[in-house]
Symmetry: none
DNA sequence: AGCATAAATAATAA
DNA sequence: TTATTATTTATGCT
């Protein structure tokens, strides 16, 4: 009845997880003999180590795709590896009953862990022996200069706000036109609308909270 | 003190905009720093260009509502844009006192101008490359506009994930049912499962590499 | 120093 | 694969 009725190659991977995970009733969060807290800790630590090397998820992913093969492409890495692993562990530790809903099984995490650990260890080695070594290892330079924050003129803001009021999601054409008209880079205008939408959403959220 | 890094010729038009429109008493018809004569000229030229493409106002309006989004909806837009803009400029130049009664302010006109310019430019391009291209551009062009990204509620995600765990390939009926239950479009739910399967596949790919 | 918000990054829907 | 949303960071200004 509740058996997995799929025939994708992925099923092999999930096959060995029983229908009901064995959940340890203690606070140690052990599922199927795997310590979720441990995995969670690892994921957290991994992020910290990544950040202290000044690396983005993307960079790690790209580097991994070089050393480990093309399976690690772009943003896939981020969601599939570090983040989901982290979330999975976190969720599982909070609500063990939710376990089955997670994107990554504890076993998966357990398997991936050593790969990440190994890679990170080497990256840190290189880092210690010189920034250029790390750069070489990564293949991409870790940090580029942040763009200088632009300040909009009041006039520009007025126009942007007026536009935003009519349409919070301007088309590409509109953005280009606005950028041209105002004399800012197109990307700057695009980002402005992103941030503006975000601000609006925050405001709405806050107001609804406040009323409630 | 701090100068801004913009260099737009157009932004100068908006230099200062007090609450009350500043009406220049000279013959140059400048209101709120916007040159109405210039707009009038633009509107005239736009009409000419439109006619030489053999297009009606309605057609332009409909096309704009497609490319620029619902903010420019209906044929009303067209008259609100092209015609009234033209009239506004014309009227304003004749009777500046009437200006405020118009549906379109000089500022609006100024803002809309580049959109129209852009659109017309593209239309003319298409026209040059063949009548059918123009027709295609004008007609019910398959929405170049990307659908707004929907964000799922945590509750919806929980249900979806639970379902996915049981069956990664829900049938059409199941998808419909889920969509109805959750109050999302069917297509949105369908895509969610596509993306989810993809994510799973990525994880599996990486793991097989990692284990090897 | 702290605030407002532009830019950058991460997550993920299309 | 692309592009949008969500979150985080950090900068220009007061």
């Amino acid at each position: 009845g509740t058996q997995h009725s799929r025939s994708s190659p992925t099923s092999d991977f999930l096959a060995d997880s029983p229908n009901q995970p064995t959940i340890n009733q203690t606070n140690s969060n052990v599922v199927d003999g795997i310590n979720l807290d441990e995995i969670k800790e690892f994921a957290k630590a991994f992020k910290l180590r990544r950040l202290s090397l000044g690396l983005t998820q993307t960079q790690v992913g790209q580097a991994l795709s070089i050393t480990e093969g093309p399976a690690y492409s772009q943003s896939a890495i981020c969601s599939a590896l570090a983040t989901q692993m982290y979330c999975a562990a976190q969720l599982a530790s909070q609500h063990q009953a939710m376990f089955e809903k997670l994107d990554i099984t504890p076993k998966s995490a357990q398997k991936i862990k050593p790969v990440l650990e190994m890679w990170m260890k080497e990256a840190e080695e290189r880092y210690k022996s010189g920034q250029n070594h790390l750069t070489e290892f990564i293949g991409v330079e870790p940090s580029k200069k942040r763009k200088r924050r632009t300040s909009f003129t009041p006039q520009a803001l007025e126009l942007l706000n007026a536009h935003f009021e009519r349409n919070t999601h301007p088309s590409g054409t509109e953005i280009t036109a606005l950028a041209h008209q105002l004399g800012y880079e197109r990307e700057v205008i695009r980002i402005w609308f992103c941030n503006k939408r975000q601000a609006l959403k925050n405001t709405v959220r806050m107001m609804s909270k406040g009323v409630a």
